[in-house]
């Protein structure tokens, strides 16, 4: 298990993993905070370290279109984007999944406009959560590196053949320099294996038509087949992650858990905040609190059954959402967790919080406060609010009869 420790940003780790996949084609367009991936990857290409056709497209819509074309022509394909870039791609994102083309895309999570914002939240990935792409959310640079490799294997599995997104927090992970364990080029390539094309449009001896029209009499069947592919991904992911453990020594589940087993108060969150929460859990544990963390890695396919059984017997749960589902009055992760628990008959108070939108920081003290609130819910037996709370949002004074401590003097003069 030969490995090397390097200090890399999340973006550099992803660029390195992408190089080790030896993709035939990478097509991309720069956008903050993803740019570092393609910058680093371009260096690899110009230094001759990887034999990839790198296409710097004129937009993300074109970049994803090129990826679709290249994958249909029998290539291993990778790309990366963020926020507005993913929004511009969205049309072709659905087509890549509908045409069942394997590829891997790093999504460096950034808030969607407007208002214009370049910082981290998960609204971009959530926008395309129903597109038929596998979505893996990573907590740190190591996971981002590892997940590029795992996602590629899963995406290219013949019974799956769905494109995969590897999502990680913009700036918090993408621009943060940390030690990352790197596998050798050889062990990566023996793990992912050479690309085996499902379809190869350049194979003129076996001509094929892709992307043909499917109207009322066919479309439904294709979508049903796509749902089945997602179920196959759910079945195959554990085995592929186990194979990865044998190569790397790093073990991944459908979700990551931290001191969860005997925990009574549980925090559920995607991304880097669940690492921060580990510090808080350790502190509270040493004070005798039974607290733990569940960090879903796979948001699509969502491990409903496994997640529900891991939460049986818990006393109170806080679900942190770094995206809103406007009008659902619950964040996208909150919706998944509540529906999974309901379907599996697990009754436990769930407090959903929208936090950290547009890169708003969440501190260890904040997370500690959330656990205190969970404890209060258990002690008082009060149900958490049905609608999501907006964590850390500035509240104005109440409209009337509020306890205002500030009076405009000018209004008194009039």
């Amino acid at each position: 298990m030969q490995q090397e420790t390097r200090t890399l940003t999340g973006n550099e780790a992803v660029a390195l993993a992408t190089k080790q996949l030896r993709p035939h084609v990478v097509a991309a367009y720069p956008i903050t905070p993803q740019t570092g991936i393609i910058e680093t990857f371009s260096e690899y290409v110009s230094n001759g370290e990887v034999d990839t056709e790198l296409v710097l497209a004129e937009s993300e819509h074109s970049a994803m279109s090129i990826c679709v074309g290249a994958a249909a022509a029998g290539s291993r394909v990778a790309t990366a984007t963020s926020s507005q870039g993913l929004a511009l791609m969205a049309e072709i994102v659905y087509i890549a999944a509908g045409m069942r083309l394997p590829m891997v895309m790093a999504v460096t999570n950034r808030a969607l406009s407007g208002p214009l914002n370049i910082h981290c939240d998960h609204s971009d990935s959530m926008m395309v959560r129903d597109s038929g792409w596998i979505q893996i959310f990573c907590r740190d640079a190591q996971e981002a590196y590892d997940s590029i490799l795992i996602a590629t294997r899963l995406s290219e599995k013949q019974s799956v053949r769905l494109p995969a997104m590897v999502c990680y927090d913009g700036f918090f992970v993408s621009h943060n320099l940390t030690p990352v364990q790197i596998l050798t080029d050889e062990s990566v390539f023996s793990f992912v294996g050479p690309f085996k094309a499902g379809v190869d449009l350049l194979d003129t001896l076996h001509p094929a038509t892709m992307g043909a029209l499917a109207l009322q009499n066919y479309y439904l069947e294709f979508k049903r087949a796509q749902a089945e592919a997602m179920r196959q991904a759910l079945d195959w992911a554990p085995q592929i992650q186990e194979e990865f453990r044998l190569v790397s020594g790093r073990s991944y589940g459908m979700f990551q858990q931290y001191r969860l087993e005997d925990a009574q108060l549980v925090l559920i969150a995607l991304g880097s905040v669940s690492r921060t929460a580990e510090v808080v859990v350790d502190r509270l544990r040493s004070a005798g609190w039974k607290v733990g963390i569940l960090a879903p890695r796979f948001y699509r396919p969502f491990p409903r059954a496994e997640l529900s059984s891991a939460l049986v017997g818990k006393r109170a749960i806080a679900v942190l959402d770094r995206a809103d589902s406007c009008g659902a009055f619950t964040g996208p992760l909150g919706l998944e967790v509540k529906s999974a628990l309901f379907d599996h008959g697990v009754t436990v108070p769930v407090w959903n919080m929208i936090y950290g939108l547009g890169g708003r920081n969440i501190t260890e003290q904040d997370i500690e406060g959330i656990f205190f609130q969970l404890l209060k819910i258990v002690q008082t037996g009060t149900a958490p609010p049905e609608d999501a709370d907006y964590f850390g949002v500035r509240e104005g004074p109440a409209e009337a009869g509020g306890s205002q401590k500030w009076v405009e003097v000018s209004t008194l003069r009039n």
Partner: protein, 322 residues
């Protein structure tokens, strides 16, 4: 109304509804809800026909729906339009699967497939110079058949050869679904707003002519209709991932010649085999043999007219379909 006299013992005309008795609307056909499917081609006015029928029904205080279904939209491509007409509020937005009435605006579309779902005791209203009995026999239908030579009606009303308005008249007359006065009013209002009063009057005349010229008939003993043999489509498990087709040339199975409203007439003696038509034809419908044009493949020719437009001689000329 003409009658089909001396046509044999098994087919009678002049069903006792329709124009003969200035129908009282939906109740005349003894149903709470009447569903109509129109078969036409893009540009022939099936959708407009459905809309005018809806407006006329509204004038009679009936509840209506008019909607359409398109494939890849294109002038000349087969289109479907639908009506629902009822005495009470219609709440379903489901597709019309078992219509009471089928209207075929384009005679070239008349084949057994237009009967799909049509109730055995329903109405088939066809634009054709043929008799109702010939149509009933041709598609082996056991309900009531109405036919109208819409082109003749349009000519007589000094209108361009559009079949939708005459067929609207035929439909209303045959089924008794709508009173003539309400239909005339709806037609007049629609055309006055878009094309002026003179055209509106001509269209009202077309309705009148259709009313008097429509031929209606049905078997005395309703015979059984043969079951349509729908070819089975694959299940979702049987589909190739992403819809990849490995069979080359599957477009060959899709006969687009049905879309045509005019066709290129080829004069071999005028042709110098420059092959411009062969280059420009979007459907490879120009047949050649050793560099010589041998004819037009009418199974696929959609009648776009590009070949005639690029022909430097008079070897290709577009002629209306008959």
């Amino acid at each position: 109304m003409q009658t089909e006299l001396g046509s044999g013992v098994d087919f009678y005309v002049n069903k006792a509804i329709g124009s003969a008795m200035e129908s009282p609307g939906v109740e005349a056909i003894g149903a709470e809800l009447v569903e109509v499917r129109w078969h036409g081609r893009g540009g022939q006015g099936a959708v407009t026909g459905a809309k005018i029928l809806a407006r006329a029904a509204t004038k009679e205080g009936l509840w209506i729906q008019a909607f359409s279904e398109f494939g890849p939209e294109r002038r000349g491509a087969p289109v479907l339009a639908f009506n629902r007409i009822g005495a009470n509020e219609i709440r379903t937005y489901a597709p019309v699967e078992e219509p009471d009435v089928v209207v075929v605006i384009d005679p070239a579309l008349l084949e057994r497939a237009v009967l799909r779902g049509l109730k055995a005791e329903g109405w088939l209203v066809v634009n054709t110079p043929f008799s109702p009995r010939q149509v009933a026999r041709n598609v082996s239908f056991s309900g009531t058949v109405a036919t109208l030579d819409a082109a003749a009606v349009s000519r007589e009303a000094s209108l361009p050869p559009l079949a939708n308005i005459p067929m609207l008249g035929a439909l209303a007359a045959a089924t008794g679904l709508i009173q003539r006065s309400a239909l005339e009013e709806a037609v007049f209002e629609t055309f006055r707003a878009s094309l002026g009063e003179e055209t509106a009057r001509k269209n009202v005349r077309a309705v009148n002519l259709a009313w008097s010229q429509v031929r209606i008939g049905h078997y005395l003993d309703p015979g059984s209709t043969e079951e349509e043999n729908e070819c089975a489509l694959p299940s979702w498990q049987e589909l190739e991932p992403g819809g990849t087709l490995y069979q080359p040339g599957s477009a060959r199975d899709y006969l687009t010649g049905m879309w045509r409203s005019s066709y290129p007439l080829f004069k071999r003696e005028e042709c110098n085999d420059c092959l411009r038509c062969w280059v420009f034809c979007p459907d490879t419908s120009i047949m050649t043999n050793e560099g010589k044009v041998t004819g037009i493949d009418l199974q696929y020719c959609k009648g776009c007219g590009v070949c005639a437009a690029v022909c430097p001689r008079d070897a290709l000329k577009m002629v209306p379909e008959n």
